[in-house]
């Protein structure tokens, strides 16, 4: 199929198809779209990609994605520096920031423990976390790991190494999705929601 295209076109399609969620059909459509754009806009897009790639790094303190280190969250003196939320990925920080509910600090692990993949504590940003807990004045650590097996493993592991430091450890409540219909909620989620019920 690729032979029908001039070389630069088939190369572009091939590169686009490497992106997540983009199949060969979509890659073709995008390639034609890019070809029809004014040159300025194509250059703008390409430059944005290269600049993002070149200027983004991980914050030296919390591990979040940033263009300056320490990142804006770590530098913000109006936030609660005694409250630390541990997440698996930078995109989890973004998700929590969007809620506007959380005004503490973050720590990004860059992954989760995976018993089946053999990913152990050494492969995660845990040493730096312990370092922070010993040098900064943290009163509470909120574990905001994914509610899957890897997330559970990570939260259990962290709770066990943090508790001896006499720091309060909490985790996100596992409960019902807002707007859901109780009868359609699966048994496990419902069970956890009953476990985590709150007094009104």
């Amino acid at each position: 199929m690729m032979n029908y295209y001039p070389k630069p076109m088939s190369r572009l399609i091939k590169e686009l198809a490497k992106l997540p969620g983009i199949g060969p059909k979509t890659a073709q459509r995008l390639a034609f779209y890019l070809f029809e754009l004014p040159r300025d806009e194509v250059v703008g897009l390409a430059t944005a990609m290269v600049e993002a790639k070149d200027s983004l790094k991980f914050c030296a303190i919390c591990g979040h994605l940033t263009d300056e280190s320490p990142c804006r969250v770590c530098q913000d003196t109006t936030r609660d520096h005694h409250l630390l939320c541990v997440v698996e990925e930078p995109k989890d920080v973004i998700a929590l920031e969007k809620t506007r509910e959380f005004r503490g600090m973050y720590h990004v692990l860059h992954g989760a423990l995976s018993p089946l993949e053999g990913i152990g504590p050494e492969e995660l940003n845990i040493k730096q976390l312990l370092n922070r807990l010993q040098t900064e004045e943290i009163n509470e650590v909120i574990l905001a790991c994914d509610p899957d097996l890897e997330g559970e493993a990570t939260a259990l592991y962290l709770a066990r190494i943090i508790k001896p430091l006499q720091i309060k450890v909490t985790r996100l409540a596992r409960g019902l999705p807002i707007g859901g219909d109780l009868e359609y909620i699966d048994e496990v989620t419902l069970g956890k929601a009953i476990e985590g019920r709150q007094e009104l």
């Binding site: 089946l116 053999g118 097996l149 859901g180 496990v188």
Partner: protein, 256 residues
Amino acid sequence: MGLYHCEGIILRTRVFGEADRIVTLLTKEKGKIEAVARGARRPRNRLVGVTQQFSYLRGLIFTGKNLDQLSQAELIKSFAPLRDDLLKMAYATWWAELLDVFLPLAEVNTEIFLFTLAGLVVLEQTPDPMLVSRAFELRLLRYLGYDPVLDHCVRCQEGAHGSLAGFAPVEGGMLCRICATSAGEKLIPLRPSALAELRALYAADLRAVARRPVDPTLGNELGRLLFAFIQWRAEKPLKSLAFLQSLLVWQEPSGS
């Protein structure tokens, strides 16, 4: 396209596509199967909770051209305690990987299914699963037809008391002193008392093993032998074993 009901235990799950999961199930009716659970990574999907690792479920499977599909599932037992305790989770994952590595797809084995189910029930209730796991590993090897030779020398059949030098994973059993010298293989030493324990574990009821106090020295000694043998049999590194071992090493200082 066909349709069948089955009862199964989730051995592992993998992400698939945008929102799906592929689950590997050990079923009573069809042996080990793989099926896609559509939408099982969307928070409100009915399959989310049921398709957690180690869940024991009753499912409805559509057989497809390429992939089978788990279209409905109902929880029989969630085995949640195996996900709420790190050490139990590590053991359960290790068992699941053993089953996944050694069992071929779509080969019915009711004995292994029932044994696994019983094993997980015991594991759920055992505070220190070390010896239970040794018994599980050993019995699973027997069900798979890989049982290590423990009663006599695997080469010359010599079985006299005190004549055995150690365990040779590559030979699949114990070697006597004479054969060990000529074989020149790396042996795993085993105290006679540990060897006796190992033989006894073959026949032991997992529930009875769970009630016994755990002797970590014995557990580790048997573990060295079984891990080496299993690793050699699997012909590839077993990742969950590394995880389990890192946990056991780490636990020791805070164990008291």
